[in-house]
């Protein structure tokens, strides 16, 4: 019986992705494919996953994240190695809103990296997973995708795209054995948010967020807020009447 787990992590150098990967690695008998833009940074992470659990393997692939043909080829190659158990699509970058407003190419980059690119990876991997009719795919969205706010709507809009995409995939795969999870972390203590921390924001640790995500993936939950309190906070934010919302400086 094959009890090994095949796990593909897109954006493997992201702090949340690595913490999730560690939780799987600790169980042992995992084969990781770590996809990132920078193989040099991914290699120590691969070593970490190999060492942390019994009998793990981990290999790295570096590629551009907006090349549709390369993404399709990656998914095909990954599926050729056997059925995939988990795909985690975790890459992203948090732009400064003001930079996006000042420079349209920064807006474009933010929309591509955080919205378009994750959707392409999801589409490609679901395509190859349907053949095996099994596996879990998790997209990392954000609480920022729940409602457009002046402080970060470029990032939020991209994450909103990810949410719609996840929803559509869930609808499409409702009768199958493939589970799609959308994870929506609140502000998390990672290198991506270092400047928020500097401004004094209270951030959840990547370990705590990862634990919630890994649990939700295992349970096949369609949506998970991490930490869980954000479900309540965003319920309020989404429900605020526009007249009130527009008076808030958030």
């Amino acid at each position: 019986m094959n009890t090994r787990k095949r796990i593909v992590v897109i954006g493997a150098t992201s702090a949340i992705a690595h913490q999730c990967s560690r939780l799987w690695a600790e169980e042992g008998h995992c084969d990781f494919l770590l996809v990132s833009r920078d193989a040099g940074r991914a290699e120590p992470l691969a070593a970490d996953l190999r060492a942390r659990g019994a009998d793990n393997t981990a290999s790295t692939v570096a590629m551009g994240f907006d090349d549709a043909d390369a993404i399709a080829a990656l998914a095909r190659d990954a599926a050729n190695g056997g059925p995939i158990d988990i795909v985690l699509i975790a890459h992203g970058s948090l732009p400064r809103q003001q930079d996006c407003q000042d420079d349209l190419s920064a807006t474009k980059d933010a929309l591509v990296t955080n919205g378009l690119s994750p959707a392409l990876f999801a589409e490609a991997f679901i395509g190859v997973m349907q053949g095996a009719d099994r596996g879990h795919l998790c997209l990392i969205g954000s609480v920022a995708g729940d409602r457009g706010r002046k402080s970060n709507y470029v990032y939020g809009a991209a994450k909103g795209l990810v949410e719609r995409y996840a929803q559509g995939l869930q609808h499409r795969l409702a009768g199958t054995c493939i589970k799609v999870t959308l994870a929506k972390p609140g502000p998390t203590d990672t290198p991506m948010t270092a400047h928020l921390k500097q401004e004094g924001a209270k951030l959840a640790s990547a370990e705590v967020v990862a634990r919630e995500i890994v649990k939700a993936i295992a349970a096949g939950r369609p949506v998970v807020y991490a930490p869980g309190k954000w479900a309540l906070i965003m319920l309020v934010i989404r429900g605020l009447p526009r007249a009130v919302f527009h008076k808030l400086n958030i």
Partner: protein, 436 residues
């Protein structure tokens, strides 16, 4: 970024420049960036000022926590210096390996364990943490990298193990783990009603028991206490016990006053003594509660209130150690200060691997004291006299106040460290005890 940083004793919260080091970054230390000096900082679990550098820079090593390689045959683990001892224990015990030496908390980094050359309850058999480090990599602020171990560049190794972080930034280390059948220990608990009995128990246990430690009632003039000893047990103990859960209890806030005070201490100590006396005997224990009893309560250091607390840990040679310990306990009992946490254990005869390693042949006593200002410091002065006269020393990892002369008499080799110091690194402790 500038933040206020406290160590575990919470005696101060001075502003520090902090810089989180990234475990995937290329080799080489970042520039000091205008700070007068820098200091590596892991979990901040040392009690006093060994991990603090007020007005300067702290290199935060927690994100440098990658494991780099594990040799499943030989048990050699290579990891970055920010890796947690607790993660090593948790992940390796089910695979049949554990750290050969662990201190009383698992929430410390490998780098911190090396810099303070920490010891455990098995010093008489296994020595200190540094005895199991096969190799370490040191980054220096002049841009150089030094790889050293007990057999290569041994002088750098001796300076860095127990070197209080002053020789450079330890970036990674290779540790020799030990084989275990599983996470279980076969333990025995024995109550004793006076100090002489402790010394007998310690001597009797030396050959047959790997782990020995005693709790003592610091208010009791005769020195009653509870002696605990253990060996690694079988994979599955006879009486199945539940796997300990993750940390459940916590001190959620800092109370306005120390909860450890005259009113609480006596009833607690009496209760603790009699509970353990009645529950004594042989048992099977998971390693977590045996090695790390206080880790079960998150932020237990808040219990001492906003003024924080000191720990006084000393080691005195065997020759006149028994009298010195007795004299210290009498002094503490009559002062009415002290706390629940009072620990006595004997160290073995093994020479320590570092120039400034704390563990030395003899007896070690550790006690927490709520910070009552002058009154507490005066008690420490009296204890210092006893330690100094006995030829003993104080543990830098716990210290926030020892006088430089006691450091220098306790660690006669201290000046040999100086040529190995990194000129870009300094701590509040090094300035206090070494002048820079």
């Amino acid at each position: 970024m500038v933040t206020r940083v406290s160590s575990w004793g919470r005696l101060s919260a001075e502003p520090h420049q902090t810089l989180a080091l990234d475990g995937t970054a290329a080799a080489g230390l970042p520039a000091l960036d205008g700070s007068p000096s820098a200091l590596p900082h892991g979990m901040g679990r040392s009690y006093g000022d060994v991990c603090l550098n007020p007005g300067g820079l702290l290199w935060m090593t927690r994100a440098m926590d990658h494991w780099l390689h594990f040799d499943t045959e030989g048990g050699l683990l290579t990891c970055q210096a920010g890796a947690l001892l607790g993660d090593i224990q948790r992940l390796m015990a089910p695979r049949g390996w554990m750290l050969p030496v662990t201190p009383g908390t698992q929430f410390v980094t490998v780098g911190g364990a090396i810099a303070n050359d920490v010891h455990g309850k098995n010093h008489h058999m296994a020595g200190s943490f540094g005895d199991h480090v096969r190799s370490l990599t040191l980054w220096r602020t002049d841009g150089s990298t030094i790889v050293c171990g007990p057999e290569h560049q041994a002088d750098w190794f001796r300076a860095t193990v127990g070197g209080l972080g002053l020789t450079g930034l330890v970036t990674q280390a290779t540790l020799q783990l030990r084989r275990v059948a599983g996470p279980w220990l076969a333990t025995e608990t024995i109550a004793f009603d006076h100090l002489a009995r402790f010394h007998e128990l310690a001597a009797d246990s030396e050959a047959g028991w790997e782990y020995t430690v005693a709790w003592i009632d610091c208010l009791d003039k005769r020195g009653r206490g509870i002696f605990m000893r253990a060996n690694h047990g079988n994979a599955t103990p006879g009486a199945p016990e539940a796997q300990p859960r993750r940390q459940r209890l916590a001190m959620p806030v800092t109370p306005p006053l120390s909860l450890v005070n005259g009113a609480s201490l006596r009833p607690f100590n009496t209760l603790y003594y009699h509970l353990h006396r009645l529950r004594g005997g042989k048992a099977n224990s998971h390693y977590l509660p045996f090695f790390y009893p206080l880790d079960g309560i998150a932020n237990w250091n808040r219990m001492y209130g906003p003024r924080g607390f000191y720990q006084y840990q000393c080691a005195v040679p065997f020759e006149n150690g028994a009298q010195a310990i007795e004299a210290m306990l009498a002094r503490i009992a009559s002062s009415g200060q002290g706390s629940f946490l009072a620990v006595l254990k004997t160290f073995g005869h093994r020479p320590s691997p570092g120039l400034l390693s704390f563990a030395r042949p003899g007896i070690t006593l550790a006690l927490d004291f709520p910070n009552k200002g002058e009154k507490t410091l005066r008690l420490f002065d009296a204890l210092d006299d006893i330690v100094g006269a006995a030829g003993g020393r104080i543990y830098p990892a716990k210290d926030a106040r020892m006088p430089a002369h006691l450091f220098q008499s306790g660690y006669p080799q201290w000046a040999q460290l100086l040529p190995y110091r990194d000129p870009g690194i300094s701590s509040a402790m090094s300035r206090r005890l070494m002048g820079s």
